[in-house]
Amino acid sequence: MSVENPKERRERLEMTALGLAGLIPFAASAFVVWIPATLLAPFTSAAPVFALAYAAVIAAYLTGAGAGAILAQPSGPRRWFAPGQILLLIVFFAALPDGVLYDLAHSIRFPIVIAAFLAILAMDLGSAREQRFPPWYGKLRIALTAGVVASLAAVLAHPSVWGAR
């Protein structure tokens, strides 16, 4: 078992803090949808759209990170960019606002985005096993993706969101 050196530990802690910060908008969307505070009422209807748009930004970033990791080690095990790009396109089209190309119910959009996030995680765990990412990356991604999926599922589970556009 490898021992983590101080530099790796600092790196892991910094990335964990950054990852948790990135989770806040997802959690906030779920919070706004579920907490019946008068102060938050104006944001309630916008929260699902915000969560989907934010998911698209994060999916783009994560698939970019996967591509960057491949670029950093071109001589490693063969792994293609295409699966990540396809997953990004799926999230992109699921998150497009109504009226741009089509109208879609949230009950269709959210499960697609959740499934795509799980697929991106699976892909990145494969890369982590091939040591294309630092040793701490896999565990961190599992925890953060769990947070993303729980938040998106919580938004979708609200009666005002399920079935709404």
Binding site: A53, A60, G68, L71
Partner: protein, 159 residues
């Protein structure tokens, strides 16, 4: 079916080829969208502009991710500056997704894409960035995509 594979399709050589094909495919939507904005401004213009802007935001976030991925896996570990260089594009992408003002959103994209390319080229020259071939593919594509966004922006200004 045989197992024969052309040497150019394997390993590190196949990677640039496949990545180049994907990159060119990824550049098509803004190019086509810019043409649509000019050719069918009345019916397709607004939706195509919105599609284009969201795509531009996703591109910026994606390039930020690439920088982060390259930085985190570089020999000796990432530097603070290189990690920051990966996160800044993400921060630039947010307003493109969440602002309503098309003018500002177009400006962010038109400014961000060349700046990211320029900085990535610098990093590659220093030996701390992506491989040469990647930027060799990205340079013409960034020029094409930025020109597409600029064209659509011009149409938005004129209408």
């Amino acid at each position: 079916m045989t197992n024969s594979v052309k040497p150019s399709e394997t390993g590190a050589q196949g990677l640039p080829q496949a990545a180049a094909v994907l990159a060119y495919a990824g550049a098509l939507p803004p190019i086509v969208a810019a043409l649509m904005v000019w050719m069918r401004p009345a019916d397709l213009g607004p939706a195509t502009t919105e599609l284009m802007l969201i795509y531009g935001g996703a591109l910026i976030a994606f390039f930020g991710g690439v920088r982060w991925g390259v930085a985190v896996m570089r020999a000796g570990g990432p530097s603070f500056a290189s990690l920051l260089g990966g996160v800044i594009p993400l921060a630039m992408a947010f307003p493109v997704f969440f602002l309503e003002d098309a003018f500002t959103r177009f400006l962010i994209i038109i400014v961000a894409l060349p700046i990211l390319l320029w900085d990535d080229l610098r990093a590659t020259r220093r030996g701390s960035g992506a491989p040469d071939w990647y930027l060799g593919v990205r340079t013409p594509l960034t020029i094409l995509m930025t020109a597409s966004f600029a064209l659509a922006f011009l149409k938005t200004l004129l209408s």
